[in-house]
């Protein structure tokens, strides 16, 4: 069963990789069919990815008899789910706006996330690993179905984590759009219209897209944080303890709150707000990854919380 899961995940990874490569080629050649092919590959990847997670859930619950197991219980699974939700968010955005060039940036980001999901142990073990076989074993170990610590065996795990990821993936796509916006804006300000800018979408619609994504992501983030507090009450007996993760989640929340405030009340638009939204995503990444090395309680992903 686990072998099937491994093959399935390999297939998922393969499809994401092909999709990214096609989008990268598209960015240079500007052939519509490349964009369409890339899109069908990310569709396929997401489709298989959903099956992969379902299969993992089945293995965890039925075969390993883990109670309350959800397939986002360790760092690998968490990144895996994150990349799936980025993919699904991108697909939704793409169905509305039809912007192939966006795929170039989003799939690259997604590919980095999913590659990191399997290879993160390598960064700390690098010196001890000898030869490709050891590297491969380490990767496969990262992909194994985990044993659960008590704090994670909760129904809130199933709700809090995906909710945060839905918000985060909205911010991730907004970040990718932000990159495109800044490139286009720079070219228009410099009055140099290079080949790149010729195919980029217009500024105002990009700005609106970022605004909408954050407009959707923010309430979900808010709810996710509240549910997280509820879970903290179950697990540790208090709603809020100023743990590093909790503090940074609040900083994330404030960053996007400031973005929305500036945009909505102070009527900031364009470059300044776009940069603010991109800073927001950097904070997200720090909250998500960096904090695991700081937090005692939320350190389950790095193993410190054990």
């Amino acid at each position: 069963m686990e072998t099937i899961e491994h093959y399935l995940f390999n297939l998922v990874y393969f499809c994401y990789t092909i999709s990214m490569l096609l989008y990268l080629i598209y960015a240079f050649k500007k052939r519509d069919f490349l964009g369409k092919m890339a899109f069908s590959f990310i569709l396929a990847a997401s489709f298989f990815h959903v099956f992969d997670l379902a299969l993992r859930a089945y293995i965890g619950l039925a075969v390993h008899q883990l109670k309350w197991y959800v397939p986002w219980s360790n760092w690998f699974e968490s990144f895996s789910l994150f990349s799936l939700i980025i993919g699904l968010t991108f697909i939704a955005v793409q169905l509305i706006y039809r912007l192939h060039i966006l795929g170039t940036f989003v799939t690259t980001l997604l590919w980095i996330v999913i590659s990191f999901s399997m290879t993160y142990p390598l960064f700390s073990q690098w010196k001890e690993l000898n030869g490709l076989k050891a590297v491969w074993l380490s990767v496969m170990e990262a992909r194994a179905i985990p044993h659960l610590m008590p704090a994670l065996q909760s129904v809130w795990m199933a709700i809090h984590v995906p909710m945060m990821f839905i918000a985060y993936s909205g911010f991730a796509v907004a970040f990718a759009i932000g990159i495109i916006y800044l490139i286009q804006e720079k070219e228009l300000k410099l009055k140099k219209l290079s080949g790149v800018a010729q195919s980029l979408p217009a500024l105002e619609p990009l700005d609106t897209m970022i605004y909408r994504l954050i407009g959707w992501g923010f309430p979900i983030l808010t709810l996710g944080i509240i549910l997280g507090a509820r879970w903290a009450y179950d697990a540790w007996g208090r709603y809020w303890g100023w743990d590093a993760k909790e503090t940074w989640a609040l900083i994330t929340w404030f960053t996007y709150a400031i973005y929305l405030h500036m945009r909505f009340v102070a009527h900031w638009r364009g470059r300044k707000t776009v940069i603010l939204s991109m800073i927001g995503f950097v904070v997200v990444l720090f909250t998500y990854i960096g904090v695991n090395y700081l937090s005692e309680l939320h350190g389950f992903l790095s193993g410190r919380g054990m």
Binding site: K29, Q184, L193, A202, L203, E204, P205, W268, G270, R271
Partner: protein
């Protein structure tokens, strides 16, 4: 038996001469029909545009003197002989493919010529002047014309200030149907840019001028609303695109004024095209967030860059043309010798083609 082309073009002959030799396509058809008996060629195609008049022939004997005489008769001018060029066999094929690709055009890579070749070819095909060779040759020329345009940047990049202004506006606002345009000063230059924008069906179009009558004339032509200059300035905040072409000693809009406008606009992007001499808008306005100020020199610089980009593609285009001409000519020779080679529209092996699109 040989392929040949005799003709003159903007490279060799002045406009007055080209005008005299320019045939209307219907007139040409009738004329050829009336001359049918006297024409000593097997296959014939005449291409006549305002930039060139060329007679393509395939004949048993050398027939360039007939073609020359034909043109001399038509222009009723014995002196034009020195403006002619004659290209034969493979040279003729290369020339035709160059013409179809827009490589021989006054405006490099322009698209109109491809349609002109197509129309002329269809005319001669219908009246039975083209046979096995010319049918293949001209269909091939149309194919090469398209191939060169899609595989090189020869016909990319806009070549007029007006169209560049529109494409810039589209880069800022996307679909212009939601954008309002205000034109301050109804001069000739403003009219040119405005016409390009009007063709994009913008949401609202206002023309304001010091003398209202002039504004009305241009507004009428563009289906715009005419305004006095004062009224126009009052509406400046509601315009997404502003074109100014007033002759004023002092700038019309200072940085401070545009800053105030942007506050009222809630920082929605503002595109200003300043055609006025001296400038109507303080250049430092461009430093403000969400304001994009382009003056006429900026637009011209972009046009110039596009022209240079196109000319950098000549080499790539010529490689394709030469390769395809060689292919056709080899086929042509093989048919004449009785062993027909196959000739396919195969773009998979385009030599040295630079697929990067600009």
């Amino acid at each position: 038996m040989r392929l040949a082309v005799v003709g003159l073009s903007h490279h060799t002959a002045p406009l007055e001469l080209r005008e005299k030799l320019s045939f209307g396509i219907l007139e040409l058809g009738k004329f050829i029909e009336s001359q049918k008996e006297k024409i000593p060629v097997k296959e014939l195609m005449i291409l006549s545009t305002c930039n060139r008049t060329e007679i393509y022939t395939f004949a048993e004997e050398k027939c360039d003197s007939w073609a020359k005489q034909f043109l001399i008769d038509h222009s009723q001018n014995q002196q034009i002989d020195k403006f002619f060029y004659l290209k034969q066999e493979e040279e003729m094929v290369i020339h035709l493919f160059n013409v179809a690709s827009g490589l021989d055009s006054l405006v490099l890579g322009e698209n109109e010529i491809l349609k002109q070749v197509k129309d002329s070819y269809h005319l001669f095909q219908k009246s039975g002047w083209t046979g096995k060779f010319f049918n293949v040759l001209f269909q091939r020329a149309l194919y090469v014309g398209k191939l060169v345009r899609t595989h090189t940047g020869i016909s990319q990049g806009l070549l007029s200030s007006g169209s560049v202004a529109v494409s810039l506006a589209e880069k800022i606002f996307g679909d212009l149907r939601e954008s309002s345009v205000l034109i301050l000063g109804a001069g000739k230059m403003a009219g040119i840019s405005a016409r390009y924008l009007a063709s994009k069906k913008v949401k609202k179009l206002f023309v304001a001028n010091r003398t209202l009558e002039t504004a009305q004339t241009l507004a009428h032509e563009l289906h715009a609303q005419p305004l006095s200059l004062e009224e126009g300035l009052k509406r400046a905040e509601s315009a997404d695109i502003l074109i100014t072409s007033l002759s004023l000693a002092e700038p019309l809009l200072s940085k401070k004024e545009v800053q105030d406008l942007m506050k009222k606009r809630e920082n929605r992007s503002f595109f200003i095209i300043d055609i006025g001499v001296p400038r109507n808008v303080d250049p430092s306005v461009h430093d403000l967030d969400n304001v994009y100020l382009y003056n006429i020199d900026d637009l011209k610089t972009i046009v110039q860059e596009n022209i240079e980009k196109r000319s950098r593609e000549i080499e790539n285009a010529s490689i394709i043309v030469k390769e395809k001409a060689k292919e056709f000519f080899q086929w042509h020779v093989s048919v004449k010798e009785g062993a027909e080679k196959s000739l396919k529209h195969n773009s998979s092996s385009i030599p040295g083609c630079n697929q990067e699109r600009i």
